[in-house]
Amino acid sequence: MVADGAQQSGNEIEIQAVSKVFGQGATAFHALTGIDLTIRTGEFFTLLGPSGCGKTTLLRVIAGFEHPSSGQLRIKGQDVVGQAPNRRMVNTVFQSYALFPHMTVAQNIGFGLKMLGRPRSEIETTTAEMMRLVKMEAMASRKPAELSGGQQQRVALARALAPRPRVLLLDEPLSALDLKLRKEMQTELKRLQVETGITFVFVTHDQEEALTMSDRLAVMSKGRILQLGSPHDIYHAPTERFVADFIGETNFLSLKVITVQGRGADLALPGGRIVPARIAEGVTPAVSEAVSAVIRPEQAQLVEAGTGDLLATVTGAVFFGTDTHIHLTLEDGQAFTVRRQNTIGQADPETGARVGLSLMPGALQVLRGS
């Protein structure tokens, strides 16, 4: 059914220059623009972005519910543009779960296999196995309306996994659950992905979910992929202001470039100190140009005034339990936030106090754009 020649390449899904336009003429909406993306076999891949960024549209293109306006889409090396959803070995866990209300839990889970024309004995064993996998054995003869949100979620997952698809698409499946259940399901999903070895493509707007679960993730905005990489790369080496801002908390500083050598640059801090910084891929800053650089709040430390890299004035402190956010103003008026791990007996710095600021070496990163 599927060409196995591409198996060695390790690429499950190859997306090339895919665009999707809804409507025509002046009212046309460009949901996806020039998407290039390769998803590897067996990885947990996340599409992350705010609502309306095109992540769900991209998922629907992979599932076959939408056809790309242009571009190519291959699953396991096979061109699937124009192929109906029921012919793709790809299953979806819908945001609304979309369980069939007139069928029992077991019938829901067995539906895919039944439609594939598998023998009854196989449907029964697989359904039982799937119910065990998601811990729903006791609910086999219930109707979806008799289940809680978390249970419906598990059934939706089991239903999509039962036909053993090559790829499982998950469209914000956890967004309807409360926080505690969501955390549980995050672990559960990751476990299922590792156990089954199926490629997961997960869509979310929750940056924490994306960071904790993914092997790799793509940050999307306005129908484009802004950055693609491991959670580590995305968090520590954002290439664009949007990515840095969307994921975690960030300090943006406008700094002047002193020298540029390869992928590194020296930047002048307010107060005159010169520090090294990394340069995001595809950026070529010019000497003596003002650039936008980022540093995470936990990558700076408060020190005695007069020592460290910067001098700052405390404008406030917010207690978060595990840590405290200390808001500062630099000498040239730019705002800066430091996150400090809390220890017992440690006093918050007073508002108006003059403090020094020491930046973690190599933490500064020059962004694309300014």
């Binding site: 519910f65 819908f94 369980l99 594939l116």
Partner: protein
């Protein structure tokens, strides 16, 4: 205090009770009583108890030898035709109504009202006029036959008038909106994401229709079938105009007894039979259609 509110309750529901007793049960009671009386000389009834009318519903006596009793084949044929035509009408309306309702339900929300409005347009014109219009279409020198003759597809006009086909055509046309509207209401509530889920789980278009859409819009089919089947059984105007005397339905047979037949008790007895058929059909239909889904809503 409690007695007082109790009394108020009865006063408040009394208009509804009056309507129910006088307008609904009253006439029915009169029909039931008339069915066990003897026919009057010039129509009407004479107040002598008799089961002759009920007897004559199913049997007939030889004119010259009243003791010679045979089954009334004419009446039984009318019963059979009435049920069969009504059943066919329901099936045709369901077959045509489903795609129509589906078409409307899948239009953009702001356009659906226009389509629904168009569905109700026929109700604006008198039923009799519309039935005569169908007659104009299918009669021997009517539009259809003229067109087919002109095209050379037939040599002589098709005999469509005064046939079961004509009655079926007329009734299907008249009752179609009664199937479309409840079906649309059911489809309007259908979660189209379930259709996508069906496709996602390897169901073909036919399988999605069979396993997902049809079970979910079944309440619409049940409501629509009842709304079509029941008035079909009692149809009068359509079989009268399009079926003539040859393809009589139960409604026409009853009408005949009160008119030319001058046998009001027989007409009343036939009307009671009609009532029994409708109730039986309804019970039977609800039985078979709710069996599989039984317990789903927890109702019994």
């Amino acid at each position: 205090m409690k007695r007082d509110s109790h009394r108020w309750k009865w006063i408040l529901v009394s208009p509804a009770l009056v309507v129910l007793i006088l307008a609904a049960s009253g006439p029915l009671l009169i029909v039931a009583v008339y069915s066990v009386l003897s026919p009057g000389n010039m129509g009407g009834v004479s107040w002598d108890f008799s089961t002759e009318a009920w007897f004559r519903v199913f049997f007939k006596r030889d004119i010259f030898d009243p003791e010679n009793v045979t089954l009334n084949a004419d009446h039984l044929a009318v019963f059979q035709r009435t049920l069969w035509l009504s059943f066919q009408t329901t099936v045709i309306c369901a077959a045509l109504g489903f795609p129509t309702a589906w078409f409307i339900a899948t239009r953009p929300v702001n356009r659906r009202m226009i389509w629904l409005f168009l569905i109700t347009v026929p109700f604006w014109t008198n039923l009799l006029i519309r039935t005569f219009a169908i007659q104009e279409l299918i009669r021997n020198s009517g539009t259809l036959n003229t067109a087919l003759l002109w095209l050379g597809l037939i040599d002589k006009p098709l005999e469509l008038m005064y046939t079961d086909f004509a009655v079926l055509l007329g009734m299907s046309y008249v009752f179609l909106p009664l199937m479309v509207l409840p079906l649309y209401a059911a489809m309007d509530k259908l979660d189209f994401r379930l259709v996508e889920a069906g496709y996602d789980l390897y169901a073909s278009r036919m399988q999605v229709l069979w396993h997902v859409i049809l079970p979910l819009v079944k309440p619409g089919f049940i409501a629509g079938s009842i709304l079509v089947f029941i008035p079909s059984i009692g149809a009068y105007v359509t079989p009268r105009v399009l079926g003539g005397g040859r393809t009589m339905m139960l409604g026409n047979l009853i009408g005949l007894q009160f008119g030319q037949g001058r046998n009001w008790p027989l007409g009343s007895a036939l009307a009671m039979v009609l009532l029994v058929i409708v109730v039986a059909a309804l019970v039977f239909y609800l039985r078979i259609t709710t069996r599989e889904t039984g317990g789903r809503d927890g109702q019994s």
